[in-house]
Subunit: 333 residues, 4 copies
Amino acid sequence: MGIRVAVAGASGYAGGELLRLIAGHPELDLVTATAHSQAGAPVTAVHPQLTGLDLVFAATEPAALADADLVFLALPHGESAALAAALPESVRVVDLGADHRLRDAAAWSRYYGGEHAGAWVYGLPELPGQRARVAAATRVANTGCYAAAITLALAPLVAAGAVAPADVVVVAASGTSGAGRAAKAHLLGSEVMGDLSPYKVGAHQHVPEIKQATGATSLSLTPVLAPMPRGILATVTAVPAGDADPRAVLAAAYADSAFVHVLPEGTWPHTAATLGANSCHLQATVDVDSGRVIVVSAIDNLGKGAAGQAVQCANLMLGLPETTGLSTYGVTP
Amino acid sequence: MGIRVAVAGASGYAGGELLRLIAGHPELDLVTATAHSQAGAPVTAVHPQLTGLDLVFAATEPAALADADLVFLALPHGESAALAAALPESVRVVDLGADHRLRDAAAWSRYYGGEHAGAWVYGLPELPGQRARVAAATRVANTGCYAAAITLALAPLVAAGAVAPADVVVVAASGTSGAGRAAKAHLLGSEVMGDLSPYKVGAHQHVPEIKQATGATSLSLTPVLAPMPRGILATVTAVPAGDADPRAVLAAAYADSAFVHVLPEGTWPHTAATLGANSCHLQATVDVDSGRVIVVSAIDNLGKGAAGQAVQCANLMLGLPETTGLSTYGVTP
Amino acid sequence: MGIRVAVAGASGYAGGELLRLIAGHPELDLVTATAHSQAGAPVTAVHPQLTGLDLVFAATEPAALADADLVFLALPHGESAALAAALPESVRVVDLGADHRLRDAAAWSRYYGGEHAGAWVYGLPELPGQRARVAAATRVANTGCYAAAITLALAPLVAAGAVAPADVVVVAASGTSGAGRAAKAHLLGSEVMGDLSPYKVGAHQHVPEIKQATGATSLSLTPVLAPMPRGILATVTAVPAGDADPRAVLAAAYADSAFVHVLPEGTWPHTAATLGANSCHLQATVDVDSGRVIVVSAIDNLGKGAAGQAVQCANLMLGLPETTGLSTYGVTP
Amino acid sequence: MGIRVAVAGASGYAGGELLRLIAGHPELDLVTATAHSQAGAPVTAVHPQLTGLDLVFAATEPAALADADLVFLALPHGESAALAAALPESVRVVDLGADHRLRDAAAWSRYYGGEHAGAWVYGLPELPGQRARVAAATRVANTGCYAAAITLALAPLVAAGAVAPADVVVVAASGTSGAGRAAKAHLLGSEVMGDLSPYKVGAHQHVPEIKQATGATSLSLTPVLAPMPRGILATVTAVPAGDADPRAVLAAAYADSAFVHVLPEGTWPHTAATLGANSCHLQATVDVDSGRVIVVSAIDNLGKGAAGQAVQCANLMLGLPETTGLSTYGVTP
């Protein structure tokens, strides 16, 4: 008998990917998948890719989750806190939403509205010392998808003093699954195929999380919607602060990481190479004209940016090898 | 120590998918991956999605393959026969090429040119009695990708007498990876995105294989190139021959199959739901106007249409459970 | 001062394309564009591609349209009839909806529900004698998008006795704009990119229109949703009825057509080659195995399949050269 | 009889778009289209979207071009200079290549190699005073595609002192047609669909052109290949230098421009909205966290980024209204 896990909010894209990863995980047994409007429907009515998984969505209520060993919360922002509070302390929780990521309550209220529910251990095991903190925690706040890509690119450089923490400029493009599966006209295939468009320019709600996680003191993030289902490509530029080689700093930081790979020199990341995997691909250089450090990071927004990251954290919390049930190899082409 | 496997022709798309599946397979150890022009290059120079796999392509020669327990041949049509002939009988071989699929030498010569190398056991375990034949074989000819999708849709209906074997009409669209990774102008992203176009209309080389595998006596196949990397959607229509319900016939034929799923009534296949998986999704109905039986089949052309199918055959040949290392769940969205 | 035209239902995709074509038309002046829920909004809030067009959507009411010389109706099926009935006879009308296409009232009611509003002149000028009928009409029913592609491929062959009218088999794939811009989850970019899926299999509402327009007596249509914004590729197969060369029959039928092109032998249609144009590309052959005639037809579903066709009809109705303001050249790559 | 124009290098993507624009232009008559390896082939063998254009590629030689009134050169970088030198002064020339864009010979040699051929009038009519210079010139160097998008976003802000000329950071993503139609494996549809990847990071050859055109003194450009055939989205960030509102500065600069549109406040550019058009869509804001000015610019890389821009320049050089034969409306969806 395996470890009993449940997914709350399993009808969304991150939820569907969690179900896929759990189904392929050798130690986890899925006991419940909950949804709101889809409660009562077969999981496969929403997720045809899970054909063969014989399960019906339960309603999203604490009783449906309380006898699991670990619960993944893949709920809209603002819905995790109340549900988590209703679960016994003995149930481990990984929250894929934003409710418990920020330590700064004012920043939370400014970007998300409502009252701050308090910060949990931040679910990015590759940060220094974080693997142990996650392993010891019963409540973990998974990273946001942009935050995962950008923090992995930037945090070691700020920590090493290789770049200035101020005036970081990021442009990050995401596949459309990052926008969720609510039916909105601007997300129709007819609108997004063949199109690139920025959104939330100048004030994205993930900036405080990214600053907290990276140590950046001022950061401009321009998110772009890209014509592909999955993937984030983040281009991070910063002012150099020393003479350290940025690629070497990153390579050292991730030398022991199973999931974060600094590519061979001259090779730049492709988002497609991370599709379906929990990997992050990085490369860095110094711009010949401006002198800026440029780091490019690629992840699957539903992998290392959401469900993969969450399973990685769950593995640590449950005392399993970090890589159990996760792949570093992308489904490409 | 696991079972030692090698992949010849590992620089193509089917070869790359084989490497990915072998890397995630609990019983198989990859000992060699060979290539022609890429011999000497790191595998990851061609397959960035395999970042973390520390291996260099060997040259495609018998000596590189002879000490494996099982060899996958993912070579251009016409190159498998000579290489296979040079391998010891003790080495099991799964050929993903066309060289050994046809029993009819004349048909082979007409469509492929050159001399026929003889037929091997046909690698589609879901055909009646075929699972045992594959398990007993040391040489297996993997199905073609179109043939896999179409045969799974049609063969049980012909066998049951539910449709006439003559006048079968098939239109099947494939993602671009089915055309391989040779650099050709008409396969450039600029050309294929936003485009649908038929090719080899009226005389496709896979027709003899499909007729042999399905029992159809006359069959029109129009292949279409579709703007997506992977996936085949085959629409198969045939004249009904009795009063059997075609969906019921298919459901019965695949009741015990782990990989072939007849979808719930009213639900039609999506290629994306099979991405990265070894599954085939089927649905059938009778057209109200023409009375024709319509069956639609979806697979991943690199999964059940190539590498997944090949691993499934290898599992059987090696005495492993058929599903080892394979997923039925697609990477979607 | 040009000819005054209005578009009712201009917030949809066909409506937007009509606005684009009218804006580039040397003889037509757009006086009104109406919408339902978008009434009062700038046209560019819905159609950013029309930036520079300074116009606000009016409400869809007869009074807004009555002083135009010609009105295009791009309304949901079932809404055209009442609006058209309220317009003066002096106002010419081209209806892009289905309300007035069918002569068979029973077929209309069966597929669309409600009462039949009566048939108008069918807006496909390339049919024999139809150019003059359209030119003489004050009310024209534009073709459906699938019907346009399929009829142009099939009608001359049936008329010439080159194929049997029974047992026609069609598989036609369409870009997503054919499904409209209503926000539905299954049309999200995340769902459709990388995916092919059939819909309305076995009973599509366009079959009666296609049979009426082509002379086919029994026809199976399987529509497929393709991962691209625009374009229809129709594969039409039929049983040969004589020894006429199907390609020659088509070439003769369209020898004088500005918009319908039978491609050079051996060259098959690409939907992308018709993007933004009013053209239809055709090719035909005889299948070597089954002996079936195979015709493939490519159009832009919003061009020759909707707005382009409508402008072509309007040109004829207004006594203008048929090609005024229309292009035969696609926007490719 | 219209103005006689020729296109040298008409088999590429920019060349094909030039042929399409010329075919729809009321004053220009295409007399010759030349190509290298395709010389002797029908234009439609390379450009199926031009079906109906009955023309064969001539060889690219001065004699084929010398009797035109105006020649467009759409040749690989380094080939324009020699050909242009062989044309009579009376033949006006618009060069879509890079050979004559840079005034700085050293920069040219560093990025392109070989000897500098001298600078021509820069073909971006929207720069201050440039419309008149283009109109008076017989030799015009068309902008590069990235340079067009970035210069339109940045030049007015630098000129107005609204941003500092140093430390400009640009990330710009382009559709695949920007990479040309040479058959390369990394540009295959299977590779680019679903993928974002940067290239030439840290040292792009267009940086000197952009600095020259914008007045920037230090600029980091990270180009990204995006999974769509056409379109450039440039995100340009700069340090504010005064208290001018960047959007107002841009709106004033382009108040009289037919092709460059500053969008309504809160509306951000979509590349798809410029498809097939000669338009540029702009929006600007100030980032709340970093204080940086962010401008986003969208164009069609083959429109305002290449062929459209070239026709606009040709119109001016020939004394025609600037907008003749060009559209501001995109082909969307």
